[in-house]
Symmetry: C2
């Protein structure tokens, strides 16, 4: 028995990584993508391992762990389950800290011998003084440690700690959150949770100074009482947002096949979250949205009153309905307040009661003065500016180039946010045509880079802000 097991902090900052099962032909795509990711992240000590090759992607390839001259702290395994035990002996001999099995086909297969195999693996890890991540997952993504597992993931860190039982969801949250500005302290996908599990990770993130908010995708919990305690402790220190798979009968059956997780009853799980002060969302998109709101709808709103401004009657009606359905309010502006806006916006086709819909909100100067006036109204706690990408109205009906339009608008929104102390949200309504879609994507990057929360529909913005307010009211 080894005296002390490596800490999660040590596991999240490995000094050398071996990737077992690489092949130059790309016939093992996960290993290939990981190696490319680590190269893109400029991770300094990558060791591909495969006895069949001497070089992979321009890197020296080693026949075994033993043959690697440097320190290997973390091993990424993409070979078949049958070879697991032999490999773990090699890991023990090499003195590694952690072994991540991308490999699937263990307990989740439902085959009795595979469950026994997992037990033997865990015994070897305990004896060898190292930890196991997974099996059946995509493992670690730790930008600060340059552990980038896919070249399209951001290399800079951020405040979100994410534990995900599903590897696909771990990747998706990183991928789909990236253009909206989401950045992560550590992401760990832990699959079957053979060794490192949700409770340990909640405890870790609760104490991690680099993590400001904890996000989780769970399929099952190993021990209800332990989970309750871990969640309560974590949620008392930081906001915790959870998306839970297997909330239905069919879903629960599927989590058994996916990560060998026996899902808890939905009602029980909801009650546990409520009791602990964790926020439970409905799907991965909502998880993404509420993280965007928490990170960028800053300072967080002090009340529920929102002012909405932008061009388009349809979107204005839809904003009114969606924000009200989500429990926020669009305070009606007083006659005096409407008069202030009438002075700066022309009348034809305009709506002044809140939402504000005026044709010439298509011009940066009008946006500036409108948002400034709206920000000054006491019944307004947050502002939303929306912008469509229809060919008909794009960039001030064609009078501006994209930068001519966006730069002053972003400057105006920044000033309003600062002078009013109220968050400013941005809803970009996706464009129908290919050109417009490119402009939509570029605008999203520009707003996100300027620190604004970007949503793609009124419904999305409304639900995210409603969740954020819940989090604050209930001190989630």
């Amino acid at each position: 028995m080894v005296e002390k097991m490596p800490s999660l902090d040590e596991i999240f900052s490995p000094r050398g990584i071996a990737v077992v099962g690489v092949s130059p032909s790309g016939s093992n795509p996960f290993a290939t993508i990981v190696v490319k990711g680590l190269l893109a992240g400029k991770y300094p000590a990558i060791y591909p391992v495969n006895p069949k090759y001497t070089e992979v992607d321009g890197l020296k390839c080693y026949p075994s762990l033993e043959a690697i001259p440097g320190v290997v702290d973390h091993v990424i395994v993409a070979i078949s389950a049958q070879a697991a035990l032999t490999l773990l002996d090699e890991c023990a001999a090499k003195g590694v800290r952690s072994v991540h099995f991308f490999t699937a086909g263990f307990r989740e297969s439902g085959i009795a011998e595979r469950a026994a195999l997992e037990k033997a693996m865990l015994a070897k890890a305990k004896a060898g003084g190292f930890r196991i991540v997974g099996p059946n997952c995509v493992g670690l993504y730790v930008p600060k440690s340059r552990v980038i597992i896919d070249a399209i993931m951001p290399t800079e860190p951020g405040p979100i700690g994410f534990l995900s039982q599903s590897g696909g969801h771990a990747q998706d949250l990183v991928y789909l959150g990236a253009p909206r500005g989401l950045r992560f302290s550590k992401v760990i996908s832990y699959g079957n949770a053979l060794d490192i599990d949700e409770c340990e990770l909640l405890g870790y993130f609760a104490n991690d100074p680099e993590t400001g908010i904890i996000a989780a995708y769970l399929e099952g919990v190993k021990n209800g009482r332990r989970f309750l305690a871990a969640l309560r402790r974590a949620a008392s220190r930081k906001p915790v947002v959870i998306y839970k798979g297997g909330m239905t009968g069919a879903g629960s059956r599927t989590t058994q096949g996916h990560t060998a997780s026996l899902a808890t009853g939905a009602a029980t799980f909801r009650a546990v979250c409520r009791q602990c002060g964790a926020l439970l969302v409905e799907d991965l998109d909502e998880l993404n949205d509420v993280l965007v709101a928490w990170c960028f709808a800053t300072p967080h709103p002090r009340g529920k009153g929102i002012a909405v401004a932008g061009g388009g009657g349809g979107p204005s009606v839809s904003a009114s309905d969606e924000f009200e359905k989500a429990g926020l309010s669009l305070p009606r502006l007083s006659v005096e307040q409407q008069a202030q806006l009438r002075q700066v916006l022309p009348n034809a086709g305009a709506i002044f009661t809140n939402p504000i819909d005026a044709n010439n909100l298509a011009a940066p100067e009008a946006i500036d003065v409108t948002m400034r006036i709206l920000g000054s109204f006491p019944q307004i706690d947050m502002l939303l500016y929306h912008l469509g990408f229809h060919p008909i109205g794009r960039w001030g009906e064609g009078r501006f180039s994209a930068p001519e339009f966006l730069q002053p608008v972003i400057e105006s929104l920044r000033k309003v946010r600062q002078s009013s102390g109220k968050p400013v949200l941005v809803a970009l309504r996706p464009a129908p045509d290919a050109e417009g879609f490119q402009e939509f994507l570029a605008a999203q990057q520009t707003f996100a880079a300027a620190g604004f929360p970007v949503f793609h529909s009124m419904r999305q913005a409304a639900r995210a802000m409603s969740y954020l307010i819940d989090m604050r009211e209930k001190q989630f």
Copy 2:
């Protein structure tokens, strides 16, 4: 008084269109876009009108309606509200059938004189023997008549008749439905409903042989009793799907400013739809989705049992939860049925209970045999195939080009649909990277062109199919 007013059939097939208020500088972008759209649709008799110019976009520009030598049936107006009455006199003199006012700033402005102006306009139309579309809307889109009002709209017709009080929503449904295969018989955006209104249009579409399904975006109804009768009649003949803006207090306030519509109470409106057998959806996206389901999830499913197949544990869990939440069922496969699938799919990491999640569902042959087996099971009423665009797994983990992958898959899905008599749905999970996004869009086009309903998430597919089943069960 003129003896007979032109019929809506006549209005939807104009022999000549004048666009009043065009300008070559694009300073009137709506007029410019309409002219370009008509040109793209090869509409044969376009007459730009503006006394300031002699040519616009390569077309001769006329100083007035009177100066136009040919027949003008339809007039599109993009000049200020103040000039409306004079123009209507010209329209009467020219003997037009219909005048569409893009122009806003009428009754919806809340200004008393503007409401009076509308009344005077209606009187002129009645006296002049022509009809008014709008004001404050984008008017007609009738592919069969080549009345294409934006060059990015499809030129071929289809079975959907759409009446929309909002111009933006009319455009959006056409734009955003196009890549998923939605095509329209006639779209009419009717804004303030001064003359042509929702009741008349429901009646028209109910009898129109070119319309198979009626879609509506409503903000208000002018007369409750008349609407109830019109909706009941229409819904007894064809499926009617409605998205209603202004269902909340704030939303209703906004519809007044948008199209001068006094929204009905939400509970009343829901009751009316239920009573008449019309389907009420929550937003424009759902309207789009349910139309996709109706058009392409064919033959419509005879029951609620769905089989889901594709690669990825996360999406499989999410599919299970979403379909069950939406009231569909994922029947568990029997041991014998699972054994049939095990014979053709390898075991590692695979789930066989339904959903089916197997790594080598990344290969077309495996998809073919899996879908064929699933289609033969009696408890399955419909099939869903899902495909992700992650760099890690794209196109069979990189072993195929996109066409090498898609062509046999589409051929397989077609065969299954035909042999089983069950609809086959496709869920494409959007890609995170720019390249993947392009491939996602191209794949969507390919599946849509082959007549499959394409969804972008499990939630979207589940809700759309749930609505479709509602429509059939309640004989909506």
